[in-house]
Symmetry: D2
Subunit: 457 residues, 4 copies
Amino acid sequence: MLFRTIVSEGIAHNSYIVGSGGVAAVIDPRRDYEVFLDIADQSETVITHIFETHRNEDYFVGSRDLAARCGAGIYHGRQLPFAYGVPVKEGDRFRFGSLEIAVLETPGHTEESISLVLRDLAVSPDPYMIFSGDTIFSGDIARTDFFGKDRNAEMAAKIFDSINNKILALGDGVIICPAHGAGSVCGGEITDHLFTTVGYERRTNRQIKMGREAFIRQRVTESPYVPPYFRHMEKYNLGEGHATGDVSHSRPLGISQVHDLMKSGAQIVDIRSPTSFSGGYIRDSLSIWREGIPAFAGWFLSYEKPIILVDDFNVGLDMVFRHFGRLGYDNITGYLAGGFPAWSRGAQEIAVIDTCSVQQLKGRLEKETPYILDVRDIKNYNSVGHIRGAHHIYVGELPQRLAEIPKNEHVVICCDAGYKGSLAASILARNRYHDISNVLGGMQAWVRAGFPVEKSP
Amino acid sequence: MLFRTIVSEGIAHNSYIVGSGGVAAVIDPRRDYEVFLDIADQSETVITHIFETHRNEDYFVGSRDLAARCGAGIYHGRQLPFAYGVPVKEGDRFRFGSLEIAVLETPGHTEESISLVLRDLAVSPDPYMIFSGDTIFSGDIARTDFFGKDRNAEMAAKIFDSINNKILALGDGVIICPAHGAGSVCGGEITDHLFTTVGYERRTNRQIKMGREAFIRQRVTESPYVPPYFRHMEKYNLGEGHATGDVSHSRPLGISQVHDLMKSGAQIVDIRSPTSFSGGYIRDSLSIWREGIPAFAGWFLSYEKPIILVDDFNVGLDMVFRHFGRLGYDNITGYLAGGFPAWSRGAQEIAVIDTCSVQQLKGRLEKETPYILDVRDIKNYNSVGHIRGAHHIYVGELPQRLAEIPKNEHVVICCDAGYKGSLAASILARNRYHDISNVLGGMQAWVRAGFPVEKSP
Amino acid sequence: MLFRTIVSEGIAHNSYIVGSGGVAAVIDPRRDYEVFLDIADQSETVITHIFETHRNEDYFVGSRDLAARCGAGIYHGRQLPFAYGVPVKEGDRFRFGSLEIAVLETPGHTEESISLVLRDLAVSPDPYMIFSGDTIFSGDIARTDFFGKDRNAEMAAKIFDSINNKILALGDGVIICPAHGAGSVCGGEITDHLFTTVGYERRTNRQIKMGREAFIRQRVTESPYVPPYFRHMEKYNLGEGHATGDVSHSRPLGISQVHDLMKSGAQIVDIRSPTSFSGGYIRDSLSIWREGIPAFAGWFLSYEKPIILVDDFNVGLDMVFRHFGRLGYDNITGYLAGGFPAWSRGAQEIAVIDTCSVQQLKGRLEKETPYILDVRDIKNYNSVGHIRGAHHIYVGELPQRLAEIPKNEHVVICCDAGYKGSLAASILARNRYHDISNVLGGMQAWVRAGFPVEKSP
Amino acid sequence: MLFRTIVSEGIAHNSYIVGSGGVAAVIDPRRDYEVFLDIADQSETVITHIFETHRNEDYFVGSRDLAARCGAGIYHGRQLPFAYGVPVKEGDRFRFGSLEIAVLETPGHTEESISLVLRDLAVSPDPYMIFSGDTIFSGDIARTDFFGKDRNAEMAAKIFDSINNKILALGDGVIICPAHGAGSVCGGEITDHLFTTVGYERRTNRQIKMGREAFIRQRVTESPYVPPYFRHMEKYNLGEGHATGDVSHSRPLGISQVHDLMKSGAQIVDIRSPTSFSGGYIRDSLSIWREGIPAFAGWFLSYEKPIILVDDFNVGLDMVFRHFGRLGYDNITGYLAGGFPAWSRGAQEIAVIDTCSVQQLKGRLEKETPYILDVRDIKNYNSVGHIRGAHHIYVGELPQRLAEIPKNEHVVICCDAGYKGSLAASILARNRYHDISNVLGGMQAWVRAGFPVEKSP
């Protein structure tokens, strides 16, 4: 039995390929699909089926491109009017060598969500695995807020019932292969386990264990963040537009090219670390460290205007391009040749942002009362606590809530570790805030230093 | 949580690396250990512990070499006098970030066999996984014959109790990560599942389901094959001798070098296909097709005399070198430069072996009564059936049982698919049998052609 | 200065990338162009120009696909009506950082052939290198027969003058970077040097040293082979049709799929060695060993009907797909899953061809007088000599000259090393010759064995 | 003919492998020698000879390790008492297939320097190539100062005569393959050409063209920098000590491990960019950007005390490890896990250094008179010119000349581009200079901005 999990870090997404007897299915293929063909080739296997557990919001699915290369059919839930593929319904069965995939309709995260039960009939008619998409995750249940506050309770009930009545009912020994791991925007408490089992979740999953009513009650009070790029993904993943699997090339740009592109609206994304950014950057850049791209690019970047990257040494950019590509950004025009040092050597204007350590901040707070802006997500803000007097605005919502932040005060920006703070600082600087500081190490450092923390009641 | 399964095909062996918080353990590292360091590096993790679930018989374990590179400690069962490492006992616990590994003593396959229970204490005190070594496999229970016929019942009882009382007792939802997959010499019915669960095995594992008494009764009747190289592995894996992880280089040899080496006892291994071998080969070669090396090299090849490989195009030899290295063969002196065609071009003597298709064989049998030699393993021989009048000698035992085969008759060699038949033919030819034919496609072809099959009563 | 030679083995073709200051030119890009983008990326360089030294006959040029990916302009000679790109003329100059490329019109191989002189103006106005395309090679001058016998003298004069008056005139110290190395069909005496110099060629190139008149006289007597696929390349390389750089994927095919495709005209290409092929093959296959594809596929294979590959172990097929792709074959439908052994196991009909060693042939010739068919190229036939009584037909011309070969005699096929003989044997077998033998090792073995050779007067 | 140039960037070193007929020679192998075995394997070639053109000062030669793997002999000049290998003398000849390598004794750079003339006897007895080691480079002649000022004239005469009488005498068409390219510490004017020819150098090499007397006169006035690590290399390359080819692994270190190692004398090397370093670093770090390691590590780092690396994202460290390994640094204990941001998150003390743009510096200089420290090499300082009032101390000599720099003044550090300035700033900071600024972009930015420059008379 061919079985491989393909993890896309950053978006914390799992694709799967499973096969037997020279034929295979891919579940939820990521956009840079070459990996599936490589695995299939190595085992002399043909990919004949591609299943989508649901219409994804958080990444470009690679189904259509992969199908174009290998001739597979695409299958997905029947509750959405996809412009491609074949709808399937509860009980539909597909055979791959000795394997059988059976469809469970498991709505909740979305209406058309399905789960796929895998049996190896050469061994037993018992279920062996389930590809659970965005229903149950390791330690978590997928978010249910996509249809608005009005329907959150309804969708929460649906997902709980899908899990309880259909997935848990398969028996403790069934392996669960979810579509996301820890860090995904589709679940807030996902544990860092690549896969799990019905039994392990039944005994340890906090959301399952709280029971149906408590779960629904909790869900109604929550409103997870919805990055704006979700709308773009939804359209594309429903069948609009076209993309290709090649997400890895871009070109070096000279200083004059960067200026020309900026004049025509280019977006500069500085992928360096907080210290490197603060020590010198191109005015109006957005500071998104390289590993933060999957989580934050989709909050701030347009799909139309060109994007220019700025690094220190232009090392390992291939992974950066992939991160963008998986979010559907095909407008990465290039990167600054020679990195930021080339900008310095070129005698170009260098913008800087003040930073401070938590020790320095502690000292300052004893003498001054700056405006403390805390840009962490609200869960982290509530659970870890905050510096006395801090004002909370999640970094993703900053552009919409700038009016709340005073322009004539010193703004000290604090996040978990210093990265989101650098991003927030870059947003303020673009909006002509001139007196801002980013706290290196953020609340992690503050807490580790033993400095006092307040918690909201 | 860092978790990766490293599969070594051919020996069908699984190594694991599991870690958290920057520290990791490796379970049963294979000899070409570079892969573990690469995985650790990618996740900024240090390998601090190496566990051996038991002293292996079927491959060179990489523990000592890996430990020399990364400074990890080595841990194994306490019932054998290992010359290295630290003995552990039931209940010993090791912590890796949020993970805990606890030792279960699970004798049966060997006396010192242990299993390792993994818990993620950040999630739950419940067990999450078990690394079961050579106790339970997917669909099978490890062999228990290593201590001789006298103790087979005793060891069978031990392994059944280890599984029943300790592993199954962990609960249906626990994931089982065994040390071997389908094709291993350590189990005859292993299914082709990379991992399994307690629940799935409880419900589907034939050997578990038959019950303790039936299981022991069955074991007593069985005597699985013991390739001679096991003795070499046992010594090395107990701590004798030394090896290095580098198993991938060898050198091209010219014709005159091959002759010189042959004069001093070199062993020629022809890794080509049955048709290529039979169409022309170097006299006295052993025909072991490239993918058959893990299973058959250890039956026939000495660790002292140099080994020379012969291929057609010398493509993909890196994997061939690895196969040999994993069995501890460091005496691969080189390979024939230019492949067998260079031997032809060099006007060297070309030996040939007759082959026939099953259709041809069927025709011949209507007119002649050759000596039919069936070299499949006994399980396959019994379950598939055989050609009327066939004499069964397993290919591995051929050198010891040559006296049973007449020299003055036409010997038709039959196996499952034609590969082992080519190997058997090469052994007969080395022993001056001159009238031999290998059946291309073997019994698979015979059965598919619809020709008559007999089964032993 | 960025400088890299990209060698495509088999077609013995050299592409070049040369650049400075972040901009680069590619000369004669091969079809699988990814390598150029990778090199450019590594050095933060943009490919802005693609030069074609002439319209190639022997491989698919990658210019249009590469240009589509990197935005470069394409430049070539002005004497042909290309459907794409920009014509250049003598004296045109292009600047890349400190480098300058100047155009020399150097007709002879084709009318529109150009050479490109490279200067590094940061060092000196002296010429540093010349990209000579198909004019001068290491030790050879390109063929001049493409315009027919009538114009061979004219073209030979042109190429000699191009070399003598323009290239040699640059001075002994200029490095020559030719478009082909040893083994190319574009020159018969190319030495195995990756690059050369004006001085080295002036002193050692036999064709230059013989002088203009002798050179022309010799050319008039020669008629190099013209594989049929040249016509396809010429059309494509002039701008007809379209292709993509991806030449590396294909799919495994089961036995029933192979039968279905064969019914609809599929071409089976057996890429195994002569011994493997002769020992068992699928009836009507064409035997072209994997490394012989660049030289021989274009003689026999249609671009329309599907192509199916047969190997032993399906190892290293990626390179095989590239070989086909570089000749423009996009009709590789797949390869037999499991290799030829799967055919045997499937109880399919197995065809065989007799082989013999040169010692056996010698023995037979003392008793019999078979029809000896020598299929080497005529140069090799003449220079090495042949077996008494041999009939010469070049393997490429065999399909057109079958009428010369008796069907009722035993045909012994002899080539240089046994490979072309296997190909010739497969062609005869397809044409219902039933009594054929291929001589393993060919004339190389015959000569090495010290057997008598005749030379034509 | 097998021919490949293996470039080691940073040390700008060229190794070569050249072979024919299945045997090959390597010239001046770099330490990470795996590449030579890989190339040899791909072409079914055995490396039988390793030539060292001279005892190298600037990198660990890989001869002994490579020889241990492939069994080759090592050959070098006879004027030094090497502890290994075989001395060769003028006129010695070695045969590789159709190739011949002949030894020329070409003293000057060192006494035992040799050059190796390559002929392809299958083509011509004329010389084809010369491996010129450290005698002639593209555009330059190797340094001649290693025997002290007293013997500089003598060695300069020797090298000029070696080049003029032996190398140029081979004829214009001979290809020159030197041991170094642009950027090497062994020559100050090397052009960026991978290889050159006798003719091209005769016409364009400034040092050759100036004539013997002028060349010697110029050499006597020069004293190139001698990094301290040269002494270590000299010892090792003469045969002292032992190393292995594996230079690529290291381990992640937690904060507490870093503290422990620092207490026992560990050297922290910060490989980040100038802006990232200045924005926050671990006190007492040495700032050497990743690409500066080959040139600067050997000036400042001990071979005994452990070295710890600090990066931002720990991306591409493999190349960093190689850089260190090629200089013989086997004491890279590890790198800070999580990069510098982990240090921030850990609430550790963060040191900072002030930076300024050239525009800011210009403004400051109108109001203040800081101590301007220019740390470029003297050639750059003289040729480009400097800021009025600047004090020149080459960064490599800074530790020895700290007494010249006032501790109670503001020290503005200026170099070419900002990197060496960051290194110099880190050295001053370790020596308790508290009021220092590094000029981002250095003199390149200053000149590009059009600011005034002075030149020494």
